[in-house]
Point group: C2
Chain length 208, copies 2
DNA sequence: ACGCTAACGGACGCCCCCGTCCGCTTCGCC
DNA sequence: GGCGAAGCGGACGGGGGCGTCCGTTAGCGT
């Protein structure tokens, strides 16, 4: 009887460990290219293992997703940290917008996981809260002439990520390119300008 | 009096005609709120008819969708016509952006049908081509100082519609509100400005 | 009022995905 | 090299959507 220690740090047999890696590689590739709705069996097929093996390592899809996108979750924090560290807050803000759009464009499934797909995935919720808090601080600093428009609110960033998700191009390359242009347009929209009309109110999108 | 809608050659019996209407009502409501992936049976259930009746009237989902969104398809043309008719081309362009965003936000499934869901739905393809052509003309006129930025291309509009689709709020009301703010931001992004950096190239999105 | 037939919907078979069980294989420790 | 257990995957039952068939109902014309 093996006691699972919460973080399942017990050593796997060599072949099992190898299969685990290949499952994760397959999941990363498929989730990135086609989103989260790929069947579990297709992940297994691509990894060259049976369905049972997949379910043994990752009993629920949420666990597989969480593990597959661990790097992206870390990247998410890194992006906002770099934005905050930038000497020019507005430039830092722009960087956050660009990098975030690219990250989400490259990994289609990550957006779904990050936003709302698994409400009780604490890893994602925590990263989201951290990022939002950091961007909130960055936005506070970036507001002003030649910077972020004063009526920007955090929900606008949520809005942008949701909108960016809508870009379902056929290939990943096209999606990333489109997303890059989208980010540039978004930055233009967020830039303070003397001539902008008051924005319509935004509904509550994120509970934070 | 029994009026046969459109080009259906044979007159339907009164109860059949009634069922047809209720099927379309159900389809409109469900497609608008939840998109096109609602099962055919759920449409039938909501309409209070059996599956067979639904399939008898609309043998394929595409036919049901096309008929359900006939009004929106017409609205699509109306919107660009009104935009073209506006004395100020830039104001007309802004109107097109706002109205289009709202239309797509109100009818979630319409976007899918309009964009790419049914490649061989000639009605949608024709409306899309017409709209794009008209907007192209409108954009040509709207470019210039205090108007549309010169590096705007038609694919940017496609990009906007795709992005707008990404806004999946819980309720239709919230979605429409969010979409309204989104449209305002988009207009800001499209407005000519002395300080905008060159945009990254956009990949081919629409074959037109 | 009556009968013809359009119209209805329950039920069927098909396929795909899900999550699990179990008999066989193979790792790895002694 | 041998043995125990970790690990494997094929196979199974369940559920749901799909499109169709057919026995029954009820509109409507006479």
């Amino acid at each position: 009887m093996r006691v699972v220690t919460g973080h399942l740090s017990h050593t796997l047999r060599a072949d099992a460990q190898d299969n685990r890696e290949r499952i994760l590689d397959a999941a990363r590739a498929l989730f990135a290219a086609e989103g989260l709705r790929v069947p579990m069996r297709e992940v297994a097929r691509r990894a060259g293992v049976g369905p049972a093996t997949l379910y043994r390592r990752f009993p629920t899809k949420q666990e597989l997703v969480t593990e597959a996108f661990r790097d992206q979750l870390r990247a998410c924090r890194t992006i906002v940290d770099e934005g905050l560290a930038h000497p020019d807050p507005w430039a830092g803000f722009c960087l956050v917008v660009e990098k975030t759009c690219e990250l989400h464009a490259r990994h289609l499934g990550f957006t779904e996981a990050f936003m709302a797909a698994y409400p009780d995935a604490m890893d994602f919720a925590a990263a989201r809260a951290y990022s939002l808090k950091a961007v909130g601080e960055l936005a506070r600093r970036a507001k002003g002439a030649d910077g972020l428009r004063p009526d920007f609110v955090l929900d606008d960033l949520i809005l942008m990520i949701m909108a960016n998700r809508g870009i379902h191009a056929l290939s990943t390359a096209a999606r990333v390119a489109a997303s890059r242009r989208f980010a540039a347009l978004v930055i233009q929209a967020f830039r303070a300008s003397p001539e902008h009309a008051p924005l319509p109110p935004v509904p509550r999108l994120a509970s934070l």
